[in-house]
Amino acid sequence: MIKLIPYSLQFIAGIAVLVAAMSFKSIDRPVHGQVKIQLEFYVGNEKLVLDTFTYKNNLGQLYTISKFKCYLSNISLIQTNKKEFTTSEYYLVDEDDVDSKVINLENVPSGEYSSINITIGVDSIHNCSGVQSGALDPVKGMFWAWNTGYIFMKLEGHSPESKSPGNIFEYHIGGFKEPNNCIRTVTLKFEKSTLSVLREEASVIKIKVDLSEILKTPTTVDFPKLSSVTDFNNATKIADNYKDMFTIIEVK
C-alpha cells in the first residue's frame, strides 16, 4: 500500500501535466463567441401589431395584418478581412412566436464583422430531397403538398379594398425553380460601426423587418387587383419586394 503512493502521486502529476497541456492548446485555437440577431417588426415607421392596428399602403388603401411568417437561411457574417462565418441552419420566423424573433448564432469566431448575408427562402436541395425535420418539418404549415416546395413567406391580413371573400389578402410566396425562383439573398452592411465578436459576451445585431416593403417596391400591391398570390403567378414580384424588408437598426 505504502509502495503504491508514489505511483498514484505520479499518476496525479501526469494528469495535471496533461490538463495543463490541453489548456495551453486551447489558447492557440481561435476564440468563439455568440451573436444574437434580434428581429423587430414594423410597418413603415409603426411597430407591427397583429389584427388590431390599421396601416395604409402607398395607394392610401387601409389594411391590417393577421399573419407573417418566413424562412431565413444561409445566414453568414463577413469579417473586415473577408473571412466568412456561415450557418446551414433554417429559421422559421413567426410574428406570433416571440422566441422565433431572436436567432442565436453560436461558435462565431471572434473578430470584427462588417456585414451579414441573409437568404429568404429554402434552397433547392432542401426542396428536392424528401421529408425534412426541425424548422422544415411539413407540419409547420409552410409546405405545399400538391406542388412540392416550401412556402418561403406568408403575409395575410384584411383590407376593405380587397375583393376576396371576407376582404382578406394572402400572399404565400415560394418556388425554387426558374423562372419562378423566389429565393432572395440580401447583404446588409454595418454602416455605423463594425460588429465585435468576443468570447465573454453575446454581440447583438438588431434588424428592422419592415412589412410595408412587401407591398411597396418595385411592385406596388393594389389590393383590389392583387389580393391573393398563392402559386407561381406574380410570386417573383412579391419576392422582389420582400428583398428590401431588412435594414440594420444597430449592432453592439
Binding site: C128, S129, G130, V131, S133, D137, V139, W146, T148
Partner: protein, 350 residues
C-alpha cells in the same frame, strides 16, 4: 377431489394462456427480413428512391402497412389510403372515374395505380410531387381526400394506444415525427414492385403467348411503346394526347405545376402494368374500358391545342389490331403482385 380437478383446470388454463402469449403473430401477415429485401427486377432501371436515407426494415414496413390501411389518417376516421387504393386493383380505385373522399366530397382526378414507385422520379398525374416520402401529404391534407392537417395526424398517432410503441420498434423513438411517419409509409410503398406478369415470364422464356398476344406485342412495340416504354411501360414523361379539357373540372394538367403554356393538358404517361385491373382510364377516368382508349387513338379526333408530336401523324389501328393489343395488355396483369400477402390489410383475419 373436486378441488383437485378445479386446480388442474386452472393449471391447464394458465398453460394455455402462456402458450398463447408465446404464439407468433398470424404467419400470413408476418414480415421477415427476407420479405423486405429490395430486389430490382432484371432489366429495370436503377431506383430513384434513395434507400441509404431510409433503410427498409420489417418493423418499419409493418408500421407503414398499418398506417396505409388505417382510417385514423383521415378527418372522419372512415377514409384510409386503401379506401381509394385497392389492393386487387393494383392499388387503383376500380370503377371510379374520380374518387370520393371524406364526407362524400368528390375529387378531381382518377386514382392512379401504386406500383414500381421507386422507379418514378415524380408523382401525381401532373408530376407536382418530387419525392415518394412527400407524396402522402397531398391526399392526407387534400380537402376532398382525407381532409386532415399533418399536425393533427401526428397528434392523433402520438396519442394512440398502439402507435408510439410501433414507432419505437421501427425507429427507436416513441415520439411520432412527420419524418418517421412518412418514411414508414415509403417503406411499405417501396416494396410494391410488379414484375412477374405473364409478359415478364414470356420474356424469360417461362411462358408462351397465344397468337393474338404475340401479334399484340408486335403492334404495341411499333405503335405504343415510344411513350409506354418497356419494361415500366412508361417513359415517365408528360404528354398531351388530345383530350378535350372537361369544363366542369378545369384541370389543365402539368401547366398548373410549371406555369409553362407548353404544358397545357399534359399528364403523366401512366404505366400499363396491371392495366386490365385499373379501369376506368385517363386522368379523369373518362374512358370506361380499354376499347374506348384504343378508339381514342384509332379515330384520331384529337383536341388540337398543344398535341403531342407522336400523335400528329395517324396512329392507324384496325379492329383486329385493337383486339390483339388488348389481348397483349392483359398479359401485363401480375397475379403475384395482386395477391402478394405482404400488401394485404393486416387488420383482416385470414
Amino acid at each position: 377431489m373436486k378441488l383437485k380437478s378445479i386446480s388442474i383446470i386452472c393449471f391447464l388454463m394458465m398453460m394455455l394462456g402462456l402458450l398463447y402469449s408465446f404464439a407468433p403473430d398470424n404467419p400470413y401477415f408476418a414480415i421477415s427480413k427476407k420479405d423486405v429485401a429490395i430486389k430490382v427486377p432484371k432489366g429495370f432501371p436503377k431506383p430513384y428512391y434513395d434507400f441509404t436515407k431510409n433503410k427498409v426494415t420489417p418493423d418499419g414496413f409493418n408500421l407503414g402497412r398499418k398506417l396505409f390501411y388505417d382510417p385514423i389518417l383521415s378527418n372522419d376516421y372512415f377514409t384510409s389510403c386503401a379506401s381509394c387504393h385497392q389492393r386487387f386493383a393494383a392499388f387503383a380505385h376500380i370503377d371510379h372515374p374520380i374518387s370520393h373522399g371524406v364526407i362524400g366530397k368528390i375529387g378531381k382526378r382518377n386514382v392512379p395505380a401504386l406500383q414500381n414507385l421507386i422507379f418514378q422520379k415524380e408523382f401525381m398525374w401532373d408530376g407536382g410531387i418530387n419525392h415518394l416520402d412527400l407524396q402522402p401529404i397531398a391526399p392526407i391534407t387534400g380537402e376532398a381526400e382525407m381532409g386532415e392537417t399533418m399536425e393533427h395526424v401526428i397528434y392523433k398517432l402520438q396519442n394512440d394506444s398502439v402507435y408510439p410503441k410501433l414507432f419505437y420498434k421501427a425507429f427507436g423513438d416513441s415520439i411520432v415525427t412527420t419524418e418517421n411517419f412518412l418514411k414508414s409509409l415509403s417503406q411499405f410503398l417501396a416494396l410494391m414492385i410488379s414484375a412477374d406478369s405473364r409478359y415478364d415470364n414470356y420474356l424469360k422464356g417461362k411462358e408462351t403467348f397465344t397468337k393474338p398476344e404475340e401479334e399484340g406485342l408486335k403492334i404495341f412495340r411499333a405503335k405504343c411503346s415510344s411513350c409506354h416504354k418497356e419494361p415500366l411501360f412508361t417513359d415517365n414523361s408528360y404528354r398531351n394526347i388530345g383530350l378535350k379539357p372537361d369544363s366542369s373540372l378545369n384541370d389543365y394538367g402539368r401547366k398548373s405545376i410549371t406555369g409553362y403554356p407548353d404544358d397545357f393538358m399534359k399528364f403523366r404517361v401512366p404505366s400499363l402494368r396491371n392495366v386490365e385491373m385499373t379501369y376506368p382510364y385517363m386522368h379523369d377516368g373518362r374512358f370506361k374500358n380499354l376499347q374506348q382508349v384504343m378508339n381514342h387513338y384509332a379515330e384520331g379526333n384529337f383536341f388540337g391545342i398543344n398535341l403531342d408530336h407522336e400523335l400528329t401523324k395517324t396512329v392507324g389501328l384496325g379492329a383486329t389490331e385493337i383486339s390483339n393489343i388488348t389481348a397483349f395488355l392483359k398479359t401485363l396483369t401480375d397475379k403475384t403482385f395482386l395477391y402478394d400477402r405482404r400488401f394485404a390489410d393486416p387488420n383482416f383475419r385470414q
